[in-house]
Subunit: 243 residues, 2 copies
């Protein structure tokens, strides 16, 4: 990871540009928001469930996830995030966090005061629309995850999770299905798919044995992307990457 600070807006603007046509004034509006950068170590908790939140958190570099805890202590990851993702836009309208946000790798984030963001949205409704759209994509992904953990078997669940992550990385300019980094542990993958890390390990091996993926450390290569999508029941429509 680079030791110098990355441009905090690059990844976000790259994402916004794909789907929304924001004017230079609107982007300047975002740039003029006061911000507070902060670095977190891998595994650090950025936001805890129940906490009152008055800032909006943008992931600038690294990887993060959101998760909830069951009464028996079981952890369910509900989303993975890459640079450019806003991690808690829901606090624009809710005071209290209903889930946790945690880093997966060392990460750099910036915080915007929610109050200033609200004002910007009032002045520049197009910015609000872009962020609203982002919420809707999030919700669509959650729906797909309900399907994934509710109705697919272990092998397919993991294949699907890999496809989605590959697609997200590609959209963020962090690689392609043919070559990307899988930053999370097998334990994390288990917590995202409702499986144990032991079983994740076996399924990854099986996918590799089938020639669907090739692993080298944390680098993953999917040689035959259409075949992998088929095996994963992955239809990327729900990511709404195209307008």
């Amino acid at each position: 990871m680079a030791s110098s600070r990355a441009d905090p807006y690059r990844a976000l603007f790259h994402k916004l540009a794909m789907l929304n046509s924001l004017s230079a004034e609107e982007l300047d509006g975002i740039k003029s928001l006061p911000l507070r950068p902060q670095r977190f170590r891998a595994g650090a908790t950025i936001i805890s469930s129940g906490q009152l939140v008055s800032e909006c958190c943008l992931l600038v570099e690294g990887y993060a996830c959101r998760h909830k805890l069951a009464s028996d202590g079981g952890r369910q990851i509900v989303s993975f995030h890459v640079a450019g993702d806003i991690l808690d836009i829901q606090h624009l309208l809710f005071e209290k966090a209903d889930h946790n946000v945690q880093t997966i790798t060392d990460a750099e984030v910036v915080f915007f005061p929610m109050r200033d963001l609200r004002r910007l949205i009032e002045e520049r409704p197009e910015v609000g629309k872009a962020l609203w759209r982002d919420c809707l994509v999030d919700a669509s992904i959650f729906r797909e995850w309900v399907l994934n953990v509710g109705r697919r078997d272990a092998r397919m669940r993991i294949a699907h999770m890999l496809c989605e992550f590959a697609a997200k990385c590609e959209a963020a300019g962090l690689g392609s299905p043919a070559q990307f980094t899988l930053p999370m542990t097998q334990e994390d993958i288990g917590d995202a798919t409702g499986l144990t890390s032991v079983h994740v390990n076996r399924m990854l091996r099986q996918l590799a044995d089938e020639g669907l993926i090739a692993r080298a450390g944390r680098e993953i290569r999917i040689a035959d992307w259409p075949r992998m999508q088929e095996a994963a029941d992955f239809q990327p429509d729900y990511l709404h990457l195209a307008a």
Copy 2:
């Protein structure tokens, strides 16, 4: 079900009033939207995945659900809906449906042209804020469902689903945990919780044997609400029913 048409706004305004302080002008703006009422039989499909949608669908009476299909034909219900719920607000910003909307009972809905709704939101940003909030609540519920199907055992999953539905019904003025109607079949409950209808049946019996619920036809009574919430790991915060 009453044969005469219900006031299409009553349930929606009841819900909006709980969390948003919309002015009379803003509510009148909603009332002035052109609308097209339509009745559907139980089990009818209102919106199909992949379809282009240019109207917004409000459930006025009856019950509905949203679901996705896996490649093996398995159905995963991702949400249940009661009167007052908007069933597809995401089409405000997405053209194409990424999941299906289906009635559970005979139902009455009204359609608003999305174009007019967009215009209203531009003129009355508070209306947009109220709808945005609704999307965020939806997303929060999806996250809880991921946890439910990913990390809870069958008994708890069903108990949780019952608690959530009871809370939603109560908020909509359709009963209370002490007495409400469960309109869906055990097959539906299975499709929502990632279980088979056979196993749903056994778990419902078990919950009844434990005295947590009492069933009479499709009427459910939860005598000891705190004990049931405990058994279900149900903490209603994620529904964001309070401001």
